[in-house]
């Protein structure tokens, strides 16, 4: 807190040093005026980032537990080389603003939708940084129908006017695939509320989806990043880390740690514990209901352990070997995937798993509102999906069941198809077959879910705890001794995590909270493991005119 106050005070002082130097703009028309918004000028967008000392914010506000972003893509093979980093340079920011004839009396309307203290502190700091280069800004928290207020695109994608009524929106993108970062840059994207049609940009976005060749995909993403970076179509701020907390009572047997917002093979059947009863403790137990794996299919440990997927994934979320499918093959053009299903799999209630469950799951999830965009895109890319959704067909024709084989034929190439099949679980047709997919989460199934995974529900005391026990019928055995998993009831942000960890009642848990990580780091029997995840905080910049920014 002291550091934040010092930062704000220093910035306030610098306002008086820098802000007074701005010259009155010339009376001739500024280049951006015909487009109706000052934010249409790339120099202004660049200046807004140059004015922010993001590295200091990361070091001071986040105490180094985040990473400064120069692209939406996190560091790794997908990050383009040679991007302009727009390092803190208030003098250059002022010069660019002057060149662009920034209207001194204009106040940027900045919106955000998080209510945590760190966001509020960050907004206060950014306001001071911008004030230091002569940019006034006001901040407000959005409430209510966020989707309509943030992502409604304009009717005219070239000139607007904007349907959303703000200049900058502070947001986060938690991406399962790189496409989740970049699909919205396409001028036709249903959630592109800020970036007008730009020549060549749509083609660059489409190129990322045009090939099943991973190397070519990477190159396409890099080319797109360079274009976005040069034109500053949005302002990336920092990559958030995830923190995995592990007690000294368990041994993960060197299994790699990954992005716990999604599913990856932890080999939990091989883990060992020194607790004599074989119980390990975690959080994320159900509060009122078990959460259906729709948006983030691995957010809670139970989602990952109760349900199996067709394909497994490693800690980088890269699809690996088969899971419910003992093997799978992808055609050379990527337009057909054949899954050869296991025959030794039972649901937790004893019923046999079959290819009918696979077909049912595809047809069910495609009609479930809120399904993650990656999965929805995969399912919609299957031949006959449109006809099925429109009610013209009773089944998705592109999914063919041949005994224990399921053959999926695509109408359009989806480079993320394997990713989808490694994340979204297969659901039991015999329990959900007659239910309404629109009210999937409201189904009684989520009071006591039945899956095929390595653990099953043994006991649930809603809002209190749940106990998972090892599935004796699971088709794989492990070398570990964990018999049960105790889940303290909590949502993703667990206010009791630190207390429970301190009292020895957490063996494995994760969060994205820097405050949690800082506190748990001080507990002798716990270790904190930072993990890079695809989670980027940024500003969306409204480059369409709207009544306020004319």
């Amino acid at each position: 807190m002291k550091k934040i106050i010092v930062l704000v005070v220093l910035l306030s002082l610098s306002v008086s040093l820098f802000a007074t130097g701005t010259k009155e703009a010339s009376v001739s028309t500024a280049p951006w005026q015909e487009k109706g918004t000052v934010l249409s000028d790339v120099r202004v967008r660049q200046a807004l980032l140059l004015a922010i000392d993001m590295q200091t914010i990361v070091d001071e506000l986040f105490e180094g537990m985040a990473e400064r972003a120069i692209s939406m893509t996190s560091p790794g093979v997908y990050l383009a080389e040679g991007l302009e980093s727009y390092d803190y340079n208030p003098e250059k920011a002022k010069a660019l603003l002057q060149e662009a004839r920034w209207p001194k009396d204009y106040t940027l309307d900045v919106v955000y939708y998080y209510s945590d203290q760190q966001t509020v502190d960050l907004m206060a700091i950014l306001q001071q940084y911008w004030a230091a280069v002569g940019v006034k800004s006001s901040f407000r928290k959005l409430e209510g129908d966020l989707s309509a207020q943030l992502w409604t695109p304009p009717a005219d994608r070239k000139v607007g006017p904007s349907e959303v009524k703000w200049d900058l929106a502070y947001a986060a993108v938690a991406a399962l695939s790189e496409n989740e970062f970049y699909d919205r840059f396409e001028s036709t994207a249903s959630n592109n509320s800020t970036i007008p049609y730009q020549e060549g940009l749509d083609e660059l976005v489409k190129a990322t989806r045009a090939t099943a060749d991973v190397q070519k995909q990477i190159e396409a993403f890099k080319a797109l990043q360079r274009e976005i970076n040069k034109n500053m179509y949005n302002i990336p701020l920092y990559h958030q880390l995830s923190f995995i907390y592990i007690s000294d009572k368990i041994d993960l047997k060197q299994n790699a740690l990954g992005n716990d917002q999604f599913s990856y093979e932890k080999n939990i059947l091989d883990w060992t514990t020194t607790r004599p009863d074989g119980m390990i403790y975690s959080n994320g137990g159900p509060m009122e209901f078990y959460e259906a794996p729709v948006v983030n299919p691995g957010l809670y440990l139970y989602q990952e352990l109760l349900f199996d997927k067709l394909i497994n994934a490693d800690e980088n979320l890269t699809p690996t070997e088969g899971m419910l499918a003992k093997s799978y093959t992808v055609s050379a053009d990527g337009m057909q995937i054949t899954f050869d299903l296991r025959t030794d799999v039972l649901w937790h209630d004893g019923r046999r798993f079959s290819s009918d469950d696979v077909l049912f799951t595809f047809e069910y999830l495609i009609k479930t509102p809120g399904l993650n965009a990656v999965a929805l895109n995969t399912l919609k890319s299957i031949s006959g999906a449109d006809a099925y959704l429109e009610g013209k067909a009773s089944s998705i024709s592109g999914v063919r069941v041949e005994g224990n084989k399921v053959v999926v034929t695509f109408e359009t190439l989806d480079p993320n198809a394997l990713l989808t099949f490694s994340q979204w679980p297969i659901l039991p047709k015999h329990l959900l077959g007659s239910s309404n997919p629109v009210l999937f989460q409201q189904n009684a199934f989520w009071q006591n879910p039945i899956g095929t995974g390595p653990f099953k529900v043994a006991q649930t005391v809603m809002d209190n705890y749940a106990i998972l026990e090892r599935n004796a019928n699971y088709y794989r055995t492990g070398s570990g001794n964990i018999k049960k998993i105790y889940l303290h009831a909590s949502k993703e942000n667990d206010g009791n995590l630190i207390k429970n960890a301190e009292s020895g009642r957490i063996d494995y848990a994760w969060s994205k909270s820097v405050a949690d990580a800082q506190a748990i780091e001080k507990i002798a029997h716990m270790t904190v493991n930072p993990v890079n995840i695809r989670y980027t905080r940024l500003f969306w910049v409204n480059q369409y005119p709207h009544p306020a920014n004319k």
Binding site: E143, L146, N191, E288, G370, N496, K499
Partner: protein
Amino acid sequence: MISFIIRKFLLLIPLLLVISFLIFLGMELMPGDAVDFMIPPDALATISQAELDLLRSELGLDAPFLVRYGTWLVNLVQGDFGYSLQSGVAVSSLLANTLPATLELSLAALVLSTLFGSILGVVSALYKGRLSDNVLTVMGMIGVAIPQFLFGLIMIVVFVFKLGWFPVGGRLTVGNEAFLQRLDHLILPSVVLALSMTAGVMRYCRSSMLDSLNKEFIKTARSKGLPPWRVNLVHGLRVAMTPVAVLIGFRLPMLIGGSVVIEQVFQWPGVGQMFVSAVRSQNTPIVMMVAFFSVLIVLIASILVDIATALLDPRVKLS
């Protein structure tokens, strides 16, 4: 007295109607609706408005306000409390799961605070101006002033982390589900809740007792040669308890919603936690039922207070 009680209960009906309408209206005036809270804000960017509208329609959220209120009211009259918009679980089942936990905690705190508050209040009054009175007065002030969450956290640090006497939270542990087996879970939260309530009862009882001891009938009793314990504890305390009974009566509504903070601190799975979560997520059926029962208890408590006052104070007549 019977006709008074019947009249009072009949008056409850229009009162409940008006209050329930106002609560429903309050929920309506909040920005957004339940669907906005079902999907994380980050994920909303990739979900079409048509999908969200379909979900709204299936949940009945697209009907006009008065139709929704009317439906809720008709269902209530038929004994149907509705379903949670988040999980589809009947509100009656949710209440059946959470209410016992809250009642257990609140009743324990109410009994403890009434017992200790009354005893300490009487002691404080009888030893007015002496060391024990001053000590109790200061303790009472501290009890009123200290926030419950802070007190709860201090108790956790001392009795859980340092001494290891109690579990850190929750209502029960695996395999120990009988009341006596889970008593160790109840002690810390109920004592914390009771201590902050004790201070109020104690201060109220002290001033009421002092007032009572200065009354004419007490002087008469003393002049008749009655022993001091009889004068103080029988004649004095009976009258002194009237305002205390009023205070306790008005605390009955907290049996449902008064322990929200303590429930959060001690991970106690009660109505308070559920209510806070329901308000945040605009889960109207849950909010309506919890609020409805809270209001009902407030109104019934006020009738009970009237009756208790008449029973305790011979000067009060119900009419």
